[in-house]
């Protein structure tokens, strides 16, 4: 991920071999809390402390900040305490998703109850 996104590793250089299987791209932490599991990469353009707190609650392993955004030092410290890997890429969120999708990464499965609701 680091090389294809030409990303800077802001936190978690020693945890880059942590496996992740799915990705979720959102600036809406409400949505992230609603349907993401722990093996997911969060791609976001939002850089407030709640991004890290949301990740903490869900036991996420990796956050990618898109569009060249870098969170403040206190947010990074908190991410470090959580054992997260934090990457920053200059790619837009859309391009970040496209690049990771091309690599074989897929989105979070739609929860069963949402599929039922649509029928």
């Amino acid at each position: 991920m680091v090389s294809v996104l030409n990303a800077n590793v802001l936190i978690g250089e020693d945890k880059l071999d942590t496996p992740v299987y799915t990705a979720c791209c959102s600036d809406l932490m409400s949505d992230v809390l609603a349907f993401v599991d722990e093996k997911t990469v969060l791609i976001t353009g939002l850089t407030n402390p709640h991004v890290v707190r949301t990740s903490e609650m869900l036991d996420l392993k990796c956050i990618v900040f898109a569009r060249g955004k870098i969170p403040t030092e206190d947010i990074l410290e908190s991410a470090d305490e959580q054992g997260l890997v934090v990457l920053a890429t200059k790619q837009t969120a859309f391009s970040t998703c496209g690049i990771l999708y091309e690599m074989g990464m897929r989105g979070v499965p739609v929860p069963e109850q949402w599929e039922k609701k649509d029928k």
């Binding site: 949505d31 707190r53 949301t54």
Partner: protein, 143 residues
């Protein structure tokens, strides 16, 4: 049923900076007790959602964690303003959150339905002008 552990946290109205601290502490406490995996994550998510609701919507309230041998209970109790239409509030996508909450990535109208989805038992009671109490239970089978 024997109460093994209890702790209460006060959550202040509009304190967006501290929002999430109570839930982080609840998650740590449960981890220490030995609760893990899926249940721990569901409690953490529901706790964070309810704590955010206290900050965003209430006049302030308390979040209480009760641990019993076979279940974890979360009780959120606030002092108002109360929810006029509970059925509408439980609908995904319906939100009365302000701009501040939305700018932080919340207020998408997912909070209450998400709490209900994560909890094994969910009960909400609200009286306008008095307050709202949400009680959630999480079974500890096999934990």
């Amino acid at each position: 049923m024997e109460l093994m552990f209890t702790e209460s946290y006060h959550v202040a109205r509009a304190d967006y900076t501290s929002a999430g601290h109570a839930s982080a502490s609840i998650k740590r406490q449960l981890k220490q007790i030995g609760v893990g995996g899926d249940v721990l994550r569901r409690v953490a998510v529901a706790s964070y959602e309810v704590e955010l609701n206290l900050v965003i919507h209430s006049l302030g309230g308390d979040l209480t964690l009760n641990v019993y041998p076979d279940c974890v209970e979360l009780i959120s109790s606030d002092t108002g303003p109360g929810i006029p239409d509970l059925k509408l509030a439980m609908k995904e996508g319906y939100s009365t959150a302000n701009e501040m909450a939305r700018s932080l990535g919340f207020g998408a109208g997912m909070g209450l339905p998400n709490m209900k989805r994560n909890a094994d038992e969910f009960d909400i009671k609200s009286t306008v002008g008095v307050g709202t109490t949400i009680t959630m239970g999480f079974h500890l089978r096999g934990n």
